[in-house]
């Protein structure tokens, strides 16, 4: 039940993020849409790892079955790398605005 709602939310967030990336003209709004979409993909992996009535995968927390620890391990480093990539993208946006004085994609495409 909980994983189903998690999976539905992941699809919805990916769709919302993709919509924002395509529709908005400002580069920074596109970055925010990318942020939300990657949150959706992380949620997809974590929701896959959940079993019903489960406990976290730590030894000594009780008799009920444990969740799958593998997708959680994959996602743990991915979140931190996502922050590093975001910092790099924002640095590029700063340099771009310095040179071209605009963040509008249409105007950036015009002058080549």
């Amino acid at each position: 039940m909980e994983s189903l709602s998690g999976l539905a939310l992941a699809v919805a967030l990916a769709a919302l993020g993709l919509w924002t990336m395509v529709t908005r003209r400002n580069v920074l709004w596109k970055l925010l849409g990318l942020n939300v979409a990657s949150g959706g993909s992380i949620l997809f992996l974590v929701a896959l790892s959940h079993r019903s009535g489960a406990r976290p995968a730590i030894v000594g927390l009780g008799p009920s079955p444990a969740v799958d620890p593998l997708p959680q391990a994959l996602v743990l480093t991915a979140i931190v790398i996502h922050f590093a990539t975001l910092a790099l993208a924002l640095a590029l946006v700063i340099v771009l605005t310095e040179r071209r004085h605009t963040q509008d994609v249409k105007k950036l495409e015009e002058e080549g």
Binding site: V59, Q72, T77, A84, E98, H101
Partner: protein
Amino acid sequence: MKWITAGVLLGLAALLGLGIAGVWPRPEFPDPDPIATEWDVENAVAAIVLGVRLWDTLFEVLVYALAMVGVRFFLSGMRWQGILPPLAETPLLRRSADLLFGPILVFAVYVAVSGHIGPGGGFPAGIILGSGLLLLALAKGVEHLSTELYEPKLEGLEYVAVAATLFLGAIVLIVGVRSSAAFVAGNLLVALEVAIGAWVVVHRFASARGEV
């Protein structure tokens, strides 16, 4: 244009639905507790990140350091030439930052050191320490704090931490050591590297001019 986007979104939803149908109902899998005890720790996720999949984690550490080098490179020509405009500060922030930095540091070290027996590990600990440094920079001014922290030495320390992590990882992979001491050391080194990288980002962004 809007119809194309709607079509793409519908296709994406269908693809994801197919993917969910592929993994649903999810298969049973054996109890992950033996994985944890095999590596002499109690957190199965930490056992996977720093044990079973250590090779991937080493490269992710390398990717993080490379991203920070990239940030430094791109923002190198963009220092302020005039008076640095102050980040928003209030007296409450100034008084509380000095008070709060101690507990934040202790909490970050706790999360790092207890990563193998509870939730946490090196990565969140580094981010928490980076946020604490950001709080201190908001209160004291970025340039002042960067001279207090001896920033060139700090950047050198980051590279040393990355090299030490890779070296430790190589030893664990080749020799096949399975003790929790290696986990604690790896967590601490990763926390140091992530924290210094986050501080570099904060410093360069706060002292970069430009229109954004």
